[in-house]
């Protein structure tokens, strides 16, 4: 599995405006909705599911990266988005550092293997310092997509 298999190109956010955990998650879920995923009536339910998961423990994995996620019945395959914050967002990360790179994953209820492989893929890609540096400097959705597609 590659990141370009599940990241929705039209939902990539090159510059998040929110500066809080909840705000960022609302922006992330909203971007998938704007890209044609989820009904408007499902937005709040999905947002709450992702926020509930954060309450069980932050998905800020360190290295300025967070992978907020949830399962939801509105998707029939795993989808995701990637977003960058120019100033960083406090996210209760494992290392206490603010988060600049967000990858959100929304999975179907019954595909735990896909979720594990997507997590593995994101983590493996993000272990590359040169990739992270290039990503954080990418100014546009197209520039971010090119990096993801080549990763």
């Amino acid at each position: 599995m590659r990141m370009s298999n599940f990241v929705v190109r039209d939902a990539i956010i090159p510059s998040l405006t929110s500066s809080t955990k909840e705000g960022v998650i609302r922006e992330l879920v909203g971007s998938l909705h704007s890209a044609g995923y989820f009904r408007g009536s499902e937005l709040e339910d999905i947002t709450k599911a992702v926020l509930r998961r954060e309450q069980l423990g932050s998905t800020g994995i360190g290295r300025h990266i967070a992978i907020p996620h949830s399962k939801h019945s509105s998707v029939d395959r795993l989808i995701g988005t990637l977003a960058l914050s120019p100033n960083g967002v406090p996210f209760d990360s494992i290392d206490g550092e603010p988060v600049y790179v967000f990858v959100m994953l929304i999975s179907p209820q019954d595909r735990p293997g896909d979720h594990l492989r997507a997590l593995e893929n994101v983590v493996r890609t993000m272990k590359d310092d040169a990739f992270i540096k290039a990503l954080r400097q990418a100014p546009t959705r197209d520039a971010i997509w090119t990096l993801i597609d080549e990763s």
């Binding site: 994995i61 494992i94 735990p112 979720h115 594990l116 997590l119």
Partner: protein
């Protein structure tokens, strides 16, 4: 050294090396004093996802011993959440935990219990996960 101990490639073939096939981690456990190993199968239907991996890394960090997790021939640092997620261990996967250090006898059962938990909620409700 007797000439008969050499095989056709010229290397020494000792009897126990031929008859006993040990995995690298089993060899490591046998060779070095103070090292302990144990295996656990992942029974959680969600696999070793982020929450149990985080519980494992946190528990491992609370011990002085080094912690290595093996999946077949691959090994990762058990104190690193990121490394543990690289295993993408699904339900049914058997993992071996290798601990080395002063508190290895205390660490091994705690860590194996986390891997063997049926759900992340179970781990978080047991004292083991809050060790240290």
């Amino acid at each position: 050294m007797n000439h008969d101990d050499r095989n056709e490639f010229g290397s020494i073939a000792l009897a126990y090396e031929i008859t006993v096939e040990l995995s690298p981690v089993e060899r490591a456990c046998m060779e070095i004093n103070g090292r302990m190993c144990g295996t656990a199968a992942i029974v959680n239907p969600q696999g070793l996802h982020m929450r149990p991996a985080m519980a494992f890394a946190r528990a491992a960090l609370a011990f002085d011993s080094s912690v290595t997790v093996w999946l077949g021939e691959r090994s990762v640092n058990g104190k690193s959440l990121i490394d543990l997620m690289l295993l993408a261990a699904e339900q049914g996967t058997e993992l071996m935990v290798e601990v080395h250090g002063r508190d290895a006898p205390d660490a091994l059962p705690v860590l194996l219990n986390i891997l063997a938990a049926t759900s992340a909620d179970d781990i978080e409700s047991t004292p083991a996960a809050s060790h240290g």
